[in-house]
């Protein structure tokens, strides 16, 4: 079978089957709460795989990803919000936007492109930094984006809730977008650019000596990564329909980073596995929190358990399995190997 020789095709088929089966399980269960979780999961897959495009291939931890997500969420929301809601939510909105109400999906797409443009402008000079300086600058970038979102009340409603979006993101739309993201990430990883960037991750001097322009390789990766984060933000915004700057800050950054660390940042499989496992774990712990809360065994408010378990898990993972569950090989290779051994 020829298809099995091409590892990437096999990966893509595997994820298609995985996504469709998740969708079918959801379809047969038919519960609204489950569908909500699944839609969230698909959006998180876009976000984490998007982060993998930059972080996995360049080896640089980026804190700014959630900041890019917020740009996508706010800009697409601003474009798609119904005109009558605009006067209600954003009282000081600039006149140009007052009569704009685009189709939500189109807005999400424009939001993604806008995020990519912003990222392209902001990050080019940062791409030559390494190690701690690179991480600190991305952290500072998250802070800058967050402060602008909080401060620019005319378009974001300031620290207050941004609401009134149309609920446009369905589980099908989230599935299609996340599948396209996965294809992009896999193709990119094995393209010339992806290979060169991975070479620079493993040994920057050797990679430069064979002609890799590390700054531009990283730049391209972070623009793509920001585009995906923007799309994820737009989808999330049109799914949850109301959010505030707090939704895009350290807590969410921590969640996304924990997903990519647990799964393994070097592989797309790892990113997806991380999103899947953390979502399952998160929902399970939330359920426990709820059970404890309503069982009347304790009198105080029971919150924070989820984050505590998550942070302990991350520390244990980084000590015992620092490269995550899927450190180097994609799922296609692993399955092929199992078949070969039989």
């Amino acid at each position: 079978m020829k298809i099995f020789n091409n590892e990437n095709t096999f990966n893509i088929i595997f994820f298609l089957i995985l996504f469709v089966s998740i969708y079918l399980i959801n379809f047969f269960i038919g519960s609204a709460i489950f569908e909500r979780t699944i839609t969230n999961l698909f959006i998180y897959i876009i976000l984490v795989v998007g982060l993998q495009v930059f972080m996995g291939n360049s080896g640089i931890l980026s804190f700014a990803h959630i900041g890019f997500m917020s740009i996508g969420a706010y800009s697409s929301g601003l474009l798609s919000m119904p005109i009558k809601m605009k006067g209600f939510v954003l009282r000081d909105l600039y006149p140009i936007f007052e009569n704009v109400a685009l189709d939500p999906i189109l807005s999400i797409f424009i939001g993604g492109i806008f995020t990519a443009i912003i990222a392209a402008i902001l990050t080019l000079p940062l791409m030559r930094l390494n190690d701690a300086a690179a991480v600190i600058s991305s952290f500072a970038l998250l802070m800058v984006i967050h402060s602008i979102v909080v401060g620019w009340s005319a378009v974001t409603n300031g620290p207050r809730t941004f609401f009134g979006l149309t609920k446009a993101t369905t589980v099908e739309i989230a599935l299609i977008f996340s599948f396209l993201t996965v294809i992009f990430a896999l193709v990119y990883k094995n393209s010339k650019f992806g290979l060169l960037l991975r070479a620079s991750r493993d040994n920057d001097i050797a990679a430069e000596s064979i002609g890799a322009n590390i700054v531009y390789l990283r730049w391209f990766a972070i623009i793509a990564s920001a585009f995906l984060a923007g799309i994820a933000g737009g989808l999330w915004g049109h799914f949850i329909t109301s959010f505030s700057p707090k939704s895009f800050y350290l807590k969410e950054t921590f969640l996304v980073i924990s997903m990519i660390i647990i799964g393994g940042s070097f592989t797309v499989t790892g990113a997806i596995a991380g999103a899947l496992l953390v979502t399952i774990g998160y929902e399970f712990l939330r359920w426990i929190e709820k059970v404890i809360k309503f069982s009347d065994t304790i009198t105080f408010e029971f919150i924070g358990l989820t984050e505590i378990v998550l942070s302990i898990t991350i520390i244990i993972f980084l000590i015992t399995k620092p490269k995550g569950l899927f450190p180097f090989k994609e799922i296609g290779y692993i399955i092929k190997k199992i078949f070969k051994n039989n």
């Binding site: 931890l61 190690d131 802070m143 408010e301 984050e307 980084l318």
Partner: protein
């Protein structure tokens, strides 16, 4: 008016400088940012809060809180740094970030999400007036305590064997180990010292804000972070200078800018951080020459 401004800058700057100094101590040796550093202020605040009902005098409570801060700082080393130190930079940054999240949520789960009042002796908020300056006593105490700490700290680093070992480790860690200085001892004492400085600064910080909540550590962390980047991430003098510069910038903005521009202050300060990382990554004052991470 001018003198008032100077006192304000000095009192805020002395706090910032202490915070920055504690962060730079660990960074100097390990070349790693301790994201759990701000949580030491959380530890201070909740320690004093939990001792509130006790019959002990306030100074005893504050002293216990500072001891707790030192212990937690050492604990951070054991949990978040030591096990992953030999691995990648990313790993340590994430473990310290995870440890910070852990402490915050433990406070959320076991204490409360609501701000809790931290008792402070009343004389700290009394106002004094001299040469036309009106300022709370705590501001003057901050300035004196900080200058005292700085003098002790500099003398310690200059004259004691441990101080010498720490300076050597910050310059060339591998060489220091080869010369027979136990690495873990140096690192643990750096964390202990970092905890002590954060403890003193945190107590002064608490006297300013007077309440504690799970997210209390973020602002001191960011302050220390910005100050060290501005002043120089490798140099203790740089950290102190950076603290005063940051206080000067913050205070000038507070005096000069109208309210609707003031809310963008963080945008400006963090843009400075990015610019400094790009243009002068060593900060204003260059530390000992070596870039190799141990």
């Amino acid at each position: 008016m001018f003198l008032q401004y100077v006192v304000d800058v000095l009192s805020l700057g002395s706090l910032y400088a202490l915070f920055a100094l504690g962060l730079v101590l660990v960074y100097g040796i390990l070349k790693l940012v301790n994201f759990a550093y701000g949580e030491l202020v959380l530890v201070i605040g909740y320690s004093i809060f939990l001792l509130k009902g006790s019959p002990f005098p306030w100074f005893f409570m504050a002293g216990t809180a500072i001891v707790m801060s030192i212990l937690f700082s050492i604990f951070t080393d054991y949990v978040a740094f030591r096990p992953v130190r030999e691995k990648s930079v990313t790993a340590v940054l994430i473990t310290s970030f995870a440890f910070a999240t852990l402490l915050q949520n433990a406070a959320l789960l076991f204490i409360s999400a609501k701000p809790k009042n931290v008792p402070m002796p009343s004389f700290l908020s009394d106002s004094v007036q001299f040469l036309g300056v009106i300022t709370p006593v705590r501001n003057l105490i901050s300035i004196f305590v900080t200058f005292f700490c700085l003098i002790v700290f500099y003398q310690f680093m200059k004259r004691s064997t441990l101080g010498l070992a720490m300076r050597a480790a910050a310059t060339n860690f591998n060489m220091t180990r080869m010369l027979g200085i136990p690495a873990n001892l140096v690192i643990t004492s750096a964390f202990a010292m970092s905890g002590l400085l954060a403890g003193i600064a945190g107590t002064l910080w608490m006297s300013k804000i007077a309440n504690v909540f799970p997210g209390v550590g973020l602002e001191p962390l960011l302050v220390a972070f910005i100050a060290t980047v501005i002043g120089g991430m490798r140099s203790v003098h740089g950290a102190v200078l950076g603290g005063f510069i940051l206080a000067f910038v913050d205070m000038s903005f507070n005096y000069l800018l109208p309210q609707d521009i003031l809310k963008f202050r963080d945008v400006f300060t963090f843009s400075i951080v990015i610019l400094i990382l790009l243009i002068r990554p060593q900060g204003l004052i260059k530390g000992p020459a070596t870039g190799i991470r141990a």
